[in-house]
């Protein structure tokens, strides 16, 4: 099998020849890998099987226009993203930022409707087919990364508390905002699909450590139909496309809904929140998995041996058909020892089915 065939076949549960590796490093660990391993580009150094294709490029890149929406001004040096969401830096929290919500104080539907949402309908996607072609020529899988697809996108603009209250009140703001973000996400998703990506990575956090973030009822009322709409349209363009979906935390009750919406691969199955063996047994014939190696526990705190054992144990559970793209469950933070990252990679490379 080629590298591409290997990953795609593994994700489709049709067998695989070697175990691919993949993870995300925080800036600190990226530096460390450069220094200690000479890994200028860690994705290339470790031979990740996929590469990201850039999103649509907006004609209007000006984010200053959002500043007026912050009644309490943003802290100095804060970044504003293309949705107008503010990210305030803190000297104590490294690469992490505190989020501010431009729509938090809005009270009427009119205010929300007048908000300058990013204009993806007139954005430029001419680079996408070119990038996809290049990636495939290198025997790699082309990935469109569109996490924070509906719920998180709306939450980040409106604030979780306001949005939950809008939803609970069944008000027009919630209806409009969810429709708007779905419309914009759909434009981006279709552009990726038309450009020929193999994998589209969607996601919205709907889990907490031990419970779901909202009731199934609320999820099905507001979010599931919109997610399904996006996936349906994308699969109409390319029935072969593989849909990844990310949600942190415990989401077991949501898994049947995600399967119904058309998700093919679920990320990250946080090992601290759900038992992979159990989840695999229940749903492993309908959906594949990406992740399962805990970033709250074994990656930062385990020994290299324990990391390897976790990787092998989960690969054994998935068996020879595949269905598990084994990887750390989240970005690796500064406290993860380099030895554990190398142990994960080695475990993948040396895996022999027991």
């Amino acid at each position: 099998m080629t590298n591409r065939e290997n990953l795609l076949s593994l994700l489709r549960r049709q067998g695989y020849e070697h175990v691919p590796v993949e993870f995300v490093l925080c800036p600190h660990l990226q530096e460390l890998c450069k220094e200690k391993l000479g890994a200028e580009d860690y994705e290339e150094y470790f031979g990740f099987p996929w590469r990201r294709v850039d999103d649509l490029k907006l004609a209007d890149q000006d984010v200053e226009k959002f500043r007026k929406f912050y009644e309490r001004p943003l802290a100095e040096g804060a970044d504003i993203d293309l949705w107008g969401v503010g990210h305030e830096k803190s000297p104590n929290s490294m690469h992490m930022t505190y989020m501010r919500h431009p729509m938090e104080d809005m009270e009427t539907l009119e205010e929300v409707m007048e908000y300058p949402f990013p204009d993806f309908a007139h954005a430029d996607g001419s680079h996408q087919p070119e990038q996809v072609k290049k990636i495939k020529e290198q025997d790699l899988v082309a990935l469109g990364d569109m996490q924070m697809t509906i719920w998180e996108c709306a939450w980040y603009m409106r604030s979780m508390e306001e949005l939950f209250c809008d939803m609970g009140d069944e008000n027009e703001i919630a209806e409009f905002l969810f429709d708007k973000v779905t419309e914009l996400s759909l434009i981006r998703a279709k552009a990726y699909a038309n450009a020929g990506v193999d994998v589209l990575f969607l996601g919205d956090d709907i889990g907490m450590q031990h419970t779901i973030m909202m009731s199934e009822e609320l999820y099905c009322r507001w979010i599931k139909p919109r997610l399904k709409k996006i996936i349906d349209e994308v699969k109409r363009i390319n029935p072969e496309i593989i849909i990844f979906y990310h949600s942190c935390g415990f989401i077991e009750p949501m898994i049947p809904h995600l399967i119904e919406a058309g998700v093919d691969v679920l990320n990250p199955i946080q090992s601290e929140c759900m038992d992979f063996g159990e989840i695999y047994q229940k749903y492993g014939d309908k959906i594949s998995f990406h992740g399962t190696i805990g970033t709250q526990t074994v990656m930062p705190k385990g020994t290299p041996e324990e990391v390897k054992e976790a990787v092998w144990k989960n690969l054994d559970i998935a068996g020879e058909k595949g269905g598990l793209f084994v990887a750390p469950t989240h970005m690796l933070e500064p406290e993860v020892p380099l030895e554990n990252i190398l142990a994960y990679v080695e475990a993948c490379r040396t895996y022999r089915r027991s």
């Binding site: 929290s93 209250c165 450590q209 419970t211 009731s215």
Partner: protein, 212 residues
Amino acid sequence: MSILEEISEFLQKGKRKNVKALIEQALEEGIDPKMILKEGLMSGMSIIGGKFKREEVFVPDVMMAARAMNVGLSILEPKLVEAGNEPIGRVVIGTVQGDLHDIGKNLTAMLLKGAGFEIYDMGVDVSAEAFLEKAEEVNADIIGLSALLSTTMLQMKEVIDLLKEKNLRDKYIVMIGGAPITNEFAEEIGADYYTPDAASAAEAAKKAVESK
């Protein structure tokens, strides 16, 4: 159903307008504001907290109930001050230094408020010194620390160590919580209470100040 039970019911459903109207009506009827607070708002928050703990309701329900509580409190507070109502305790709460997660911390603060505590919310990314300074300033009973990252949970120990260093450890009840926290960790760093959810936090806090 009595009007106070009705207030509690509407609060649990997060119906702010009904809560507001009924409180105004109750005040007109001459019902003691302390009674409205206890049997209406606090009882409603305690019921919704219990349901949250048993996973019958979720984060949005608690947030909406807390909103309704706040609307109610804004009408009641001036009357309560007149009546000389004292909170059952004072809590300084915040997310520890380096950590910017605040949803769980906010929820905990809401349920503590619903249980009758006065809350001093320090926000996120709060240093050990700032916690201590505020606690001293407001004469707090409890210091509540939240951390969601395996990196930042170690900051909780810094706060406790600082208290020890200043010989103030026994003066405050230290409660900790957040996704990665466990009982073992709480014992290891010498915190007084860990609870896995916000409703249990409010119950534990009540017991703690009673037995202080």
